[in-house]
């Protein structure tokens, strides 16, 4: 499947500050992609370049299936982090206006606006001025106006980070539905949101590409076996932990309160060895876990490197 959007060596410098450097990625049609990274990593800058609000200082963006002379913006629906509307307009007026600007006829724009407002749960507030809307309502109106021309790619900048837990839940539920219908790219600094919704992730750090791929792939390739040992914390057990000699199969050893954590390369070997030693020295084990590293740990590691 060819990419819907291809970014090649995308770069943006503000003066001498390099906000985004040499980022390349593909957005495949029908996929949901998260642009992940800590605050200040260059997510918003990247998204603003994709939306055409900023001119890249280097690199290239290409959209598939663009007719000659057609603006790439006709394929895009965009929702910024904190959308700003015309406060004097009503929600419905804005949605209709957005539709008309995207080339819908008056009748089409009205019916699209009504069905989308219904869908995002704003029917009751549709005839009220936007200046009285709450943050969550604005975000939902933002979704409705971004979808009004049935865009092929929906770009969202931190769609839930400014919302309270309820608003957050509402918008995430909507996104879960929307990703069935269109290609979605959204930025977030919360891994959990990405994990819940996405097929692909792009992790950036300090404006540079840190890691990208499908969530499955990343999970499998970077999964590490981890053994966690908790003891009662008695002196003998703690001394045993301190004196523990790691074998060649242990990649990393971390002391934790009342125990230790081992990142191992060969789980079978490590398991047998550790169990034998624990039994032999009669260590007071309270909890012993043989598992895998979480994505969260990987994310933290990639981002803090």
């Amino acid at each position: 499947m060819s990419a819907l959007l291809k970014a090649e060596q995308l770069t943006k410098a503000f003066g001498s500050t390099q906000a985004v450097a040499d980022i390349s990625f593909d957005i495949a049609p029908g996929r949901c992609t998260a642009l992940l990274g800590p605050n200040g990593a260059g997510k918003t800058t990247t998204i603003r370049m994709l939306a055409g609000l900023l001119q890249p200082t280097g690199g290239k963006l290409s959209y598939a299936g663009l007719k000659p002379g057609q603006s790439p913006n006709s394929l895009l629906g965009y929702l910024p982090q904190s959308p700003s509307f015309y406060g004097w307009m009503t929600g419905r007026e804005y949605a209709v206006y957005a539709g008309r600007l995207c080339g819908l006829s008056a009748a089409e724009a009205k019916s699209q606006a009504d069905s989308l407002l219904e869908r995002v749960g704003l029917s009751a507030a549709a005839k009220r001025p936007i200046s009285g809307y709450s943050g969550g309502m604005k975000q939902r109106l933002g979704l409705a106006q971004a979808l009004v021309h049935r865009p092929r790619l929906l770009i969202l900048d931190e769609p839930v980070s400014a919302l309270d837990p309820l608003g957050r839940h509402e918008v995430l539920m909507l996104l879960r539905e929307l990703k069935q219908e269109t290609t979605v790219l959204f930025s977030t600094h919360v891994l959990h949101d990405a994990e819940q919704l996405c097929d692909d992730v792009i992790i950036i750090r300090n404006g540079e590409m840190a890691l990208q791929g499908s969530l499955e792939e990343i999970r499998n390739n970077h999964r590490m076996s981890v053994i966690t040992l908790h003891t009662e914390g008695d002196i003998r057990s703690m001394q045993w932990c301190m004196a523990y000699q790691s074998g060649a199969y242990v990649k990393e050893l971390r002391r934790i309160e009342k125990g230790m954590e081992l990142v191992v390369t060969d789980m079978e070997l490590a398991r047998g060895e550790l169990l034998r030693q624990l039994a032999k020295d009669e260590i007071r084990v309270t909890k012993l876990e043989f598992g895998h590293s979480t994505l969260e740990e990987l994310f933290m590691k990639v981002v803090s490197e």
Partner: protein, 257 residues
């Protein structure tokens, strides 16, 4: 319907909802009407001011209708331009800094259409307000002071409308360039002042300057027209077009929050 028309209608709706569509014409009308009324009552006001010995006769040359209309235009040149600049100083910068412009301009909307719709909406309101106020002034002048030649009055109105268009265009262009509305109003008014000051200090060297437009408008009414009338009008139109072109050029390259 073209995109320009859609944005233009939104601009008019905004002018209506923000009450600009009401207060601008009302203020122009008040300014226009007050000039002939003041002129008419001036002798009475002076007579009632007291401190004058009984039987004093105040000799005041009775002004011509054209003079009063020219004074009205002078009022519009000062207070009217101030109002135009203040009324439109945030046309682009306000939407840009709030982020509302980003939401609109990521849609397949031409930035030129966006700006031109704002510009034409501004022109429509400024011309409308000026016409309403000027007609009020004209009516009162012919009622209280004396008749004014209709052709001359209309010529003066059209020339003055061009001058206010120059100021409005400068304001909108400044609001594309600058982030703050106050700075936009200040620079537009500053440039307009510079134009008219240089034009009045160097009437020969700058005989064709658009800064001569207010003088030309009054000239029609006072029957003392400068010679370069055609040149001045052409220069005003060219300046407006050039400033507008520069604003569109900047708009196309503008980075949005």
């Amino acid at each position: 319907m073209s995109q320009w028309t859609i944005i233009w209608r939104k601009e008019l709706l905004e002018l209506a909802r923000s009450y600009k569509l009401l207060w601008l014409p009302l203020v122009f009308l008040l300014l226009g009407v007050s000039q002939p009324i003041m002129t008419y009552f001036l002798p009475d006001i002076l007579a009632n001011a007291g401190n004058l010995p009984e039987g004093t006769v105040i000799e005041m040359p009775k002004p011509q209708g054209g003079e009063v209309l020219a004074q009205t235009l002078q009022q519009y040149g000062m207070i009217g331009s101030l109002i135009v600049a203040l009324g439109f100083m945030g046309a682009v910068s306000g939407e840009r800094s709030s982020g509302a412009a980003s939401m609109i301009l990521v849609k397949p909307v031409s930035r030129a259409a966006y700006l031109l719709a704002k510009w034409t909406a501004m022109l429509a309101l400024v011309w409308g307000s000026l016409a309403v106020g000027y007609l009020g002034a004209w009516y009162y002048t012919s009622l209280l002071i004396g008749e004014v030649d209709a052709i001359r009055a209309i010529q003066a109105l059209l020339v003055f409308a061009l001058w206010l268009s120059v100021i409005g265009t400068l304001t909108i262009a400044a609001s594309v360039w600058l982030r703050s509305g106050a700075a936009a109003a200040f620079s537009a008014l500053g440039l307009a002042l510079l134009l008219s000051l240089t034009a009045s200090f160097l009437p020969r060297a700058l005989a064709w300057s658009p800064g001569q437009l207010p003088g030309l408008a009054s000239g029609f009414l006072l029957e003392s027209m400068p010679e370069a009338a055609g040149m001045i009008i052409a220069a005003g139109a060219v300046l407006t077009a050039a400033v507008l072109y520069a604003a569109v050029w900047r708009m196309r390259r503008m980075e949005l929050p």
